[in-house]
């Protein structure tokens, strides 16, 4: 029985004449979806599997499908005769484009067997001379396959061997996902043996043997050249690799050294002469060992279940776990733009800036003063040989450990500069139809919503670095059943009870403008923004406001060295929305208050003439009352302000701080901080009145209802009922529940539903309002926001935070009844 080895990810080309049993072999050894048969594709194109005139188009589509499969990392088998070099070249090209290995499996049966099979198939009508020609082509092909780029060629001779063959899958050399560490990944050593020993000691590695805690050192390459003791470094690393306490990927310097040792012509520059001179002192057996060691190195590794990739010069996502010349070249040298800088050195393409992969990529190659994470990648070359330091990254803790260089061993060709992490975002991070799995759920953003959000985001919003969160929309409570009310506490409590919240906090709902405030002790990056991410006032007033918030937070003792993100309401409403109130709300009120008395006066005079207009007069009187109620409702939120005088903030949640999301804190904690701010600067901060309710206690509910009636009776907007557990509150199945439902006052709702909405027939109609969509949206935006805070806390790359914040804005383009 023949076993044939095939890499787990490969493009397998079956090669054989008609009737050689390719399809049978494919069926026996591969899943149907893995096999792309030319017959099948001819059928798709031409409704006839044997229509040779459709071959060109059929192969076009076959290559296209193969490319999609390989891009996704799936083994693909091509069932076609593949007897001509141009046909095979097409397959090799597709494989190379996706950096997978092309493999040929040749099925060689005698012409007579093939002819017998062909004759038994009614759909095959070609003559025997066709088979003879095919057989000739096959003979001619056999010697060429390896030259054409097939990395493995398996020959199966005769029907029996073909039928008995089995496939054995082999892992790629770079696939070491089974190694889970913990690792200590060490940057470019460049012959600095003393520093290496110090670093290894600091990391807990004994002089010989394995780490007592089972840790594995991972070298990112460039062990040699420039430094004082390249042989010493090689000796230590080779010993560790030999002992199983280290793995190592090659750097470009090892690569060049190996070429030199193999007798190839290389330029004696960049510290290679020093290494050669040092190796002169070593016995030839050691040099031979070095050569073997370097030649055995694999250019990159995928480790820890796929979460970690190590390569000398880094590796873009599409190359990870792949094998090709260009993957190796990228891993060793990186990609250059083709330009050279002012020092004559090649300009490197900033692949890390575009990196969007989920695996962390750890690499060296480019010296930098301090390692910095850029889009989940980090360069550990801290220029030890240039007098910098030797650095290790502990994995998975991501802690950096380093030892300084004893001195500058080699003068750098260009000064080490701080690699400023490029925070620029790519349009592809946000546009088009996008699917997001944000941890609390999954969502699809329609392309047109993204398009709308793009305009708002790029024309009006603050910079993405600042805008790390946007407030979610909030659903109202279920429609009230209490006579005369559209919203009432009883349904709000019922909603929360059925969501599984045992204790809730009723917070006064401030009627102003939602404001998100970010402040830090030193004041850099501080900002205040609206619910669509716009700055609030002009720069000067914003700065003044933030200065006061900062001072209060420091005095209240809630702001230490990092930063804080507050969710607040900026009051009064007129401070931000003055124009809107004048133009829309107050205008309607003024028109109504002028028109209705005029109408009543006319009706009175008509009545005085003895005509009956009682019913009409009553309707007009009712309208006048409704307009008065409506006017009183918006007037309550209008107060004169001058500059910042009269502007206040009502904080009600502390969303996050440096390195931590506060979604796990209960509302008692949040409100306690809010109270401290109010105490520190009562002129700036407005307190949030609240009541904590035990939902199993009817008495408690009744008290809260009275409280709500009192609040709204005095012109308040209403209240928000929130699960006491906080922003991250979940139901019994661990799913997020609404972070709050609003319960708005009867009079307040006149400015939403119109002055006359309280008429019984109107209320009846409005009760049919559908809340499902709004609730879904509120929950989705809430989850996206929490996920953004989580990502900020774990210092995720900017694009990962921004895509969520952008998604919140895009969700706001959903058509939802604006009155909800």
């Amino acid at each position: 029985m023949t076993e044939i080895d095939i890499p787990e990810l490969a493009l397998v080309a079956l090669v054989g004449i008609s009737g050689s049993g390719k399809s049978t072999f494919a069926r026996a050894n591969f899943a149907p979806t893995q096999v792309l048969s030319s017959d099948y594709f001819r059928g798709l194109i031409a409704d006839d599997e044997n229509d040779q005139s459709s071959s060109a188009d059929a192969f076009d589509v076959l290559h296209y499908v193969a490319a999609k499969r390989l891009k996704a990392g799936r083994l693909t088998v091509v069932d076609a005769t593949n007897l001509q070099s141009h046909a095979r070249a097409g397959l090799v090209k597709v494989a190379r484009e996706h950096d997978v290995l092309p493999v040929a499996v040749v099925l060689d049966v005698s012409e007579s067997v093939a002819w017998e099979r062909t004759q038994s198939r009614p759909d095959r009508t070609f003559g025997k001379q066709v088979l003879t020609r095919m057989h000739r082509d096959l003979r001619r092909s056999l010697g060429q396959l390896a030259r054409e780029g097939f990395r493995k060629v398996h020959m199966l001779r005769g029907a029996e061997e073909i039928a008995g063959a089995t496939i054995r899958y082999e892992k790629l050399y770079n696939d070491r996902r089974e190694l889970t560490g913990p690792f200590d990944i060490i940057g470019d050593v460049h012959g600095c043996r003393a520093e290496l020993d110090l670093l290894l000691e600091k990391l807990g590695y004994p002089a010989e043997g394995v780490h007592p805690e089972g840790r594995t050192a991972v070298f990112v390459g460039d062990l040699v050249d420039r430094g004082p003791d390249s042989p010493g470094v090689l000796r230590r690393v080779m010993a560790m690799v030999g002992a199983g306490s280290a793995i190592c990927v090659p750097g470009n310097h090892e690569q060049k050294l190996a070429r030199k040792l193999n007798g190839r012509q290389v330029q004696l520059t960049h510290g290679l002469p020093e290494t050669l001179a040092q190796l002169e002192q070593e016995p030839p057996e050691f040099v031979q060992e070095v050569r073997t060691f370097i030649e055995g190195l694999v250019s990159h590794y995928v480790l820890d279940g796929g979460k970690l990739v190590v390569a000398h010069a880094g590796l873009k996502e599409e190359y990870q776990g792949r094998a090709s010349g260009r993957v190796r070249s990228f891993a060793l040298y990186g990609e250059t733009t083709g330009e050279t800088d002012e020092y004559g050195l090649p300009v490197r393409y900033p692949w890390a800036r575009d990196y969007r992969g989920s695996a962390a990529v750890v690499y060296g190659h480019t010296p930098t003063p301090t390692p910095e994470w850029i889009n989940n990648t980090i360069c550990l070359d801290t220029g030890c040989v240039f007098g910098g330091k030797l650095t290790a990254l502990r994995w998975p803790s991501r802690e950096l450990v380093s030892v300084p260089a004893a001195r500058e061993y080699y003068e750098p060709a260009r000064p080490l500069v701080v690699a400023r992490p490029d925070t620029g975002l790519d349009l592809q991070d946000v546009t088009g139809r996008r699917h997001l799995d944000y941890g609390y759920g999954r969502t699809t953003i329609p392309a047109e919503n993204a398009a709308a959000a793009l305009e708002v985001m790029s024309r009006f919003a603050l910079a993405p670095e600042t805008l790390i969160w946007l407030p979610p929309t909030m659903a109202p409570c279920s429609t009230a059943t209490v006579e005369g009310y559209l919203e009432h506490p009883s349904t709000a409590f019922a909603d929360m009870r059925s969501a599984g919240a045992g204790t809730v906090v009723c917070e006064e709902k401030h009627m102003g403008s939602r404001a998100v405030v970010r402040i830090s002790r030193e004041g850099s990056g501080d900002a205040i923004w609206t619910r669509t991410g716009r700055p609030f006032f002009d720069a000067e007033r914003n700065a003044a406001l933030l200065t006061r918030v900062r001072a209060a937070a420091i005095e209240a003792g809630v702001l230490d060295d990092g930063w804080l993100l507050f969710d607040t309401e900026l009051l009064p409403w007129s401070a931000k929305a003055g124009g809107l109130i004048r133009e829309r709300y107050a205008g309607v009120g003024a028109a109504g208050r002028a028109a209705l008395p005029a109408a009543l006066a006319v009706l009175d005079r008509v009545a005085a003439r003895g005509l009956d207009v009682t019913a009409l007069r009553q309707r007009m009187e009712l309208r006048a009352e409704e307009v008065a109620g409506y006017s009183a409702a918006y007037r309550a939120y209008v107060r004169p302000t001058a500059g910042l005088d009269g502007v206040t903030l009502a904080p009600f949640a502390v969303l996050a701080a440096q390195g931590v999301s506060h979604s796990d804190k209960d509302h008692g904690w949040h409100l306690d901080i809010a109270d401290k701010l109010v105490a520190a600067d009562p002129a700036l901060f407005t307190p949030t009145r609240r009541m904590v309710i035990d939902l199993s206690d009817p008495e408690s509910e009744r008290a809260a209802t009275d409280w709500w009636l009192e609040l709204t009776g005095a012109g308040g907007e209403g209240m928000v009922v929130k699960p006491w557990a906080g922003l991250g509150a979940t139901d019994t199945r661990g799913r997020l529940i609404q972070p709050g439902v609003k319960c708005r006052g009867r009079e307040y709702l006149r400015i939403i539903y119109g002055p006359e909405y309280t008429r019984p027939e109107q209320l009846e109609r409005l009760r049919a309002r559908n809340l499902g969509r709004k609730r879904g949206l509120a929950l989705r935006e809430h989850g996206l926001g929490l996920a953004a805070l989580d990502r900020v806390a774990e210092q995720a790359p900017l694009w990962k935070v921004h895509e969520l914040v952008f998604a919140i804005l895009a969700a706001e383009s959903e058509p939802v009844d604006p009155r909800l």
Partner: protein
């Protein structure tokens, strides 16, 4: 939703004959937006007043006003609006329906009175008034009193202080009743400037019918036609031509080139001399520059980008991209793109234009634009134009910036400093110039910078 018409022509109660509504009865008519009541608060020999009171049923109102799209905007207008209170096209429609024969100037009972100018007083207690009612009504022979209605009863300095958009309108004059009613029918919606229904071509006929005898000679007939026809330009032009058929058709006189024309020409000239054939118009808006580029066959690939899909739709329509012959179709492309994000599609072009774009970006976002245009897309030539703030003193009546969306306007030194920074950071060379009239002390109205990448030296 209320207007009254009073006459002192004796016998004043003849008003009832003219309107075909008996003064001693109440009348109610169902109209599409509610119930129209015709009532007489006063009916004597000396003086008779008829009131048209439209009791609007808010349930029957659709979303009449245009809804704005941005999330910050007021989207509740559909539910909270002034239509039940203010005189508007709703009231005008009701007027036309209940006083149909009077509007036509017909009267079975008093035909000669209908043809005679009589003393009239018209009162519209609440009229949403955009513009000057005096200018509209005075030329028709009315004495006009328009009292602005205050927004609220609050002291000076309060956010609700000042006038509302509504006036209490009184007209007195001696006119045919039909003329008076037709004028109200046309001019109430014109002053309100927000029609509650879709304007179809038959509105032109309605306008001409109602305007018979007074509109042709009205000094503001263009404004009236435009607003009455809901700003549909083609309709308004047709109406005006039909209104004065003996006049030669309106010919646009060649006008002096505007600053926008000069700017476009300067940018086109800069592109032409750069030798570019593949060009980007970043922030193309409605496609003013693209139109110029398309005419010039030296440009083999033209891409317009804008962040607003609405602007792109407009450009698509204006450039007739749906009807481009297929051989030409690939030449012009419109993409939505935002200059604060990197966009790989923009790489590899010969030239890019940022015409009056940068000033629409908050200064804090400019570095992102710079990185994406000069750092990432990196065309060989970049042409930038932006206003010269120093020149603003020469614009009479301009206080602040030239456009409400401008986030900044730079003087000459700020622009020069910015171009210097671009050159240093991204390795471009820049040449600065002005577009338009150049003043000795403050420079030109528009500043232009042409950035070029130095050619790779052959070494």
């Amino acid at each position: 939703m209320l207007l009254t018409v009073t006459t002192t022509h004796r016998p004043a109660t003849d008003l009832g004959y003219l309107l075909v509504k008996h003064p001693d009865r109440t009348h109610a008519f169902d109209v599409p937006t509610g119930t129209a009541h015709v009532l007489y608060p006063e009916a004597t020999e000396d003086r008779c007043t008829v009131a048209l009171l439209l009791d609007v049923d808010p349930q029957r109102l659709g979303g009449g006003r245009k809804q704005q799209a941005s999330p910050d905007s007021f989207t509740l207008g559909q539910f909270v609006n002034d239509r039940p209170y203010a005189a508007s096209s709703l009231l005008a429609s009701a007027l036309a329906k209940v006083f149909r024969s009077a509007l036509r100037g017909e009267s079975k009972d008093r035909p000669s009175l209908a043809a005679t100018p009589i003393p009239l007083e018209i009162h519209v207690p609440v009229l949403r008034c955009k513009g000057d009612p005096v200018a509209l009504f005075e030329p028709l022979g009315w004495t006009v009193t328009a009292r602005a209605i205050p927004l609220d009863d609050v002291p000076e300095g309060h956010p609700l202080a000042g006038d509302s958009a509504y006036v209490d309108l009184n007209l007195t004059g001696t006119l045919r009743l039909a003329d008076a009613l037709n004028q109200l029918y046309v001019l109430l919606p014109v002053l309100d400037d927000a029609k509650h229904y879709w304007v179809a071509p038959d509105e032109i006929d309605k306008l001409l019918r109602s305007g018979e005898g007074w509109l042709a000679a009205h000094p503001l007939k263009e404004l009236i036609a435009r607003r009455y026809l809901a700003h549909r330009r083609a309709f308004a032009l047709t109406a005006l031509e039909r209104l004065s058929p003996d006049l030669p058709p309106v010919v646009m006189k060649p006008r002096d080139p505007s600053l926008a024309d000069l700017r476009r020409d300067a940018v086109l000239a800069a592109l032409a001399s750069s030798g570019a054939s593949r060009v980007l118009d970043l922030g193309c808006g409605g496609g003013a520059l693209l139109a110029g580029l398309i005419k010039d066959m030296r440009y083999t690939e033209i891409v317009g980008t804008d962040v607003s899909s609405k602007a792109l739709d407009l450009a698509h329509k204006r450039l007739h991209l749906d009807n481009v012959p297929s051989r030409q179709a690939g030449r012009v492309t419109l993409w939505q793109s935002a200059l604060t994000y990197r966009d790989d599609r923009l790489k590899g072009f010969d030239a890019a234009v940022l015409m009056e774009v940068i000033e629409h970006l908050d200064p804090a976002r400019l570095p992102a634009l710079e990185a994406s245009v000069f750092g990432h897309a990196r065309p060989t030539t970049v042409v930038v134009t932006t206003p010269n703030a120093e020149y603003n003193v020469l614009y009479e009546g301009l206080s602040g910036m030239r456009h409400s969306d401008h986030r900044f306007e730079w003087g000459r030194s700020s622009f020069a400093a910015w171009t210097d920074r671009i050159c240093t950071t991204y390795g471009y060379n820049a040449a600065l110039s002005f577009v338009g009239n150049v003043d000795k002390s403050v420079g030109g109205s528009t500043q232009m910078a042409i950035f070029t990448l130095p050619r790779k030296d052959e070494s």
